[in-house]
Symmetry: C2
Subunit: 248 residues, 2 copies
Amino acid sequence: MSDGQGPNGGVGNGSGKPSMREALIAAAFELFLERGFEQTTIDDIVQLAGVGRRSFFRYFPSKEDVVFPDHERCLADMTELLEQRAGDGEPVTQVCDAARLVMRMYAADPAFSVKRYELTKSVPALRAHELSVVWRYEHTLADYLRRRFAGWSDGTLRADVIAASVVAAHNNALRSWLRAGGKREDVTSRMNHALEFVQQSWGVTTDGTSDAPAQEPEEVVVLIAKRRTPMWRVVREIESTLDESERN
Amino acid sequence: MSDGQGPNGGVGNGSGKPSMREALIAAAFELFLERGFEQTTIDDIVQLAGVGRRSFFRYFPSKEDVVFPDHERCLADMTELLEQRAGDGEPVTQVCDAARLVMRMYAADPAFSVKRYELTKSVPALRAHELSVVWRYEHTLADYLRRRFAGWSDGTLRADVIAASVVAAHNNALRSWLRAGGKREDVTSRMNHALEFVQQSWGVTTDGTSDAPAQEPEEVVVLIAKRRTPMWRVVREIESTLDESERN
């Protein structure tokens, strides 16, 4: 998102002139919104952009991909971020940070993102394409968590469930932001709120120096209690759950 | 799954003779496994099944659908189950029960399910189709939970995250069961274990007489603590979280 190939056809490559890739995106969107996605051919797009048909396929494998031009780069950024953080910090925080890359991609050009959201909702082929992209993000996050939770009891289950939770929370916040018109100042607080909701449920408390839980797969105690539960019952519940010998 | 149109082409309609639908499924699978999915045409399938081309489309909208012949019925069963339980019981338990319908569909014919799993893994078009089916299940569960959590703070967020968690846990258990060869006696315990994992995190404790939380959106307190946390810190944490006036 920083090399000038932003989704917005009108800005980005520093020369003030849209790149060929940007021109193709702008032309495609103009036609998709005017005629509909299915009614627009790749020939229509290259004609309006004033480039050859082969140029289109140099940038985009299919007509669907021109609608989501930055997901490939975002997936690569996500993979890179998670590789850098392979063994550090609280795992759920790391995947939430990785999910924020997607949010930032959308927030980089809110007007484009809102238009695309409207278009995608109404075109089954685009929704199918979006599902496959979302699946790849979720798979990338789950893969990372599976490595972090290797050796835990229910490690892969935990990884898959947390990855799905993070993606669902991210998409809930992203869509509600897009439906509300995509105001730039809104997006971060909405996203933080949604991701914190997941972190509160699934975040792992580590001792700050190490996150290797292999020796202690059940390091964390989760207690769920009704607000009105009397304190003596809460304490009894904790005591029966905690291993007495491990308490200070 | 009880009207004789089971996925297994060899059994089911009570007459001992496969129905036309079953014959089409059996023929399709024979060809898909022999030649590959992409290399098999609908004409090949109807020819082997000994029926006309129009019969195929009477049962299946597309070649992909013949690989997942029972999802439409399962989705309808899920919707019906959730309608019956519109206002009753713990919401997360209800969606877990609904998810078990999918598990039972797979478990009704393990050999077919294992074959299909192998086939789907290797064919991108089938994986895309499966993603769209999974999305519809998730959407059905989320819709139900959104109604149940209407009036809660973060109701739609909670609904979306729990639905995604349930689907991820279900699919984790289902796939590990299929990878292990699909032994019939295995599936229920694997599934219960995975769904209980989600219920422990997201299940809602109600007072047993009502599940209407609208007046009390933050009815539940979730505490996550390290095993070694001293008890005084646990208690202080709970006290600062609970509203003092609401405790007995």
